[in-house]
Point group: C2
Chain length 143, copies 2
DNA sequence: ATGCAAGTTAAAGTGAACTTTAAAAAAAGA
DNA sequence: TCTTTTTTTAAAGTTCACTTTAACTTGCAT
């Protein structure tokens, strides 16, 4: 069991492509030392970090948000299970919020089918006020 | 109450920007006649169509999927409430699937906190097999 | 020694869903 | 009539999360 891992070893064990790992490093989400020849050497703890990233993405966090979360981990020592647990607690909120939103859509949909109100004027689920405002250019996401 | 609406009227009533409406028309999601001078004139039924689009997006359908759904509407006559209801039934499935996925993440998260297994090797929620394969370049989405 | 796999970088490309820009024409209000 | 607002088009720009490409250097096995 090696102490450090190459990029392909990390990729194989995490299921995240090497190109994505380089991208994450560029964004500061993970870090590596270099071998004499300049090749990346990742500490084993990187695997847990990547697990966090992947899970957080599924929960709906953007890489920027994930980055902010990861910045809360202690820098001087290897994060303990407790450190990780603290970050994850935020996910429950997020997950519950997502579930709640879907439930709301579900109720809205049933309601709209029931009353036939699927129109911009009447249906509060398609109402502008109910949607998030676009921030800047690019795709608009409906939280 | 006018029979046809200008693009700004549609934008105001739907909360969807004129630029997005033009984009939707380009993609064939909505259609318009033209005035003598070449200005768009949308039939009132466009509002309902846009309501459908916005709602469907919140449920998680892509514009392409939405386009396919809209193509199922009758072309010869104005769609009835029944026509719309048929399309919406697909949403319930989709919503329930989304809710189920979040519940799964929730259970997984609780489990991972409980057993401290948030690692790539042990946790089935961050396991590669559990994730969708990337199809082509671009962002990867975890269904 | 030779050859191939694996690693490096910077820069450009990708896909979705739009937005912005620019230049010109038409409609509406004072 | 004059001015302001609205609308038109085509083309280029934007964001996110990566991937691909190209040109090169290293590592490892034969």
């Amino acid at each position: 069991m090696e102490k450090v891992l190459t990029i392909s070893a990390i990729a194989r064990r995490s299921g995240v492509k090497a190109s994505a790992l380089r991208f994450y490093e560029e964004k500061g989400l993970i870090a590596s030392e270099r071998s004499n020849s300049g090749h990346r050497r990742f500490p084993r703890s990187t695997l847990r970090r990547i697990a966090f990233i992947v899970f957080a993405q599924r929960v709906g966090l953007s890489l920027e948000e994930i980055s902010e979360e990861l910045d809360k981990l202690p820098k001087k020592r290897t994060p303990t299970r407790d450190d990780w647990d603290k970050l994850s607690s935020k996910w429950l909120e997020r997950i519950d919020k997502k579930i709640a939103e879907m439930e709301k859509l579900r109720v809205g949909l049933t309601g709209c089918i029931g009353c036939g109100c699927l129109s911009v004027d009447a249906c509060k689920f398609v109402n502008p006020d109910d949607r998030v405002a676009a921030r800047g250019p690019g795709p608009r996401f409906w939280v």
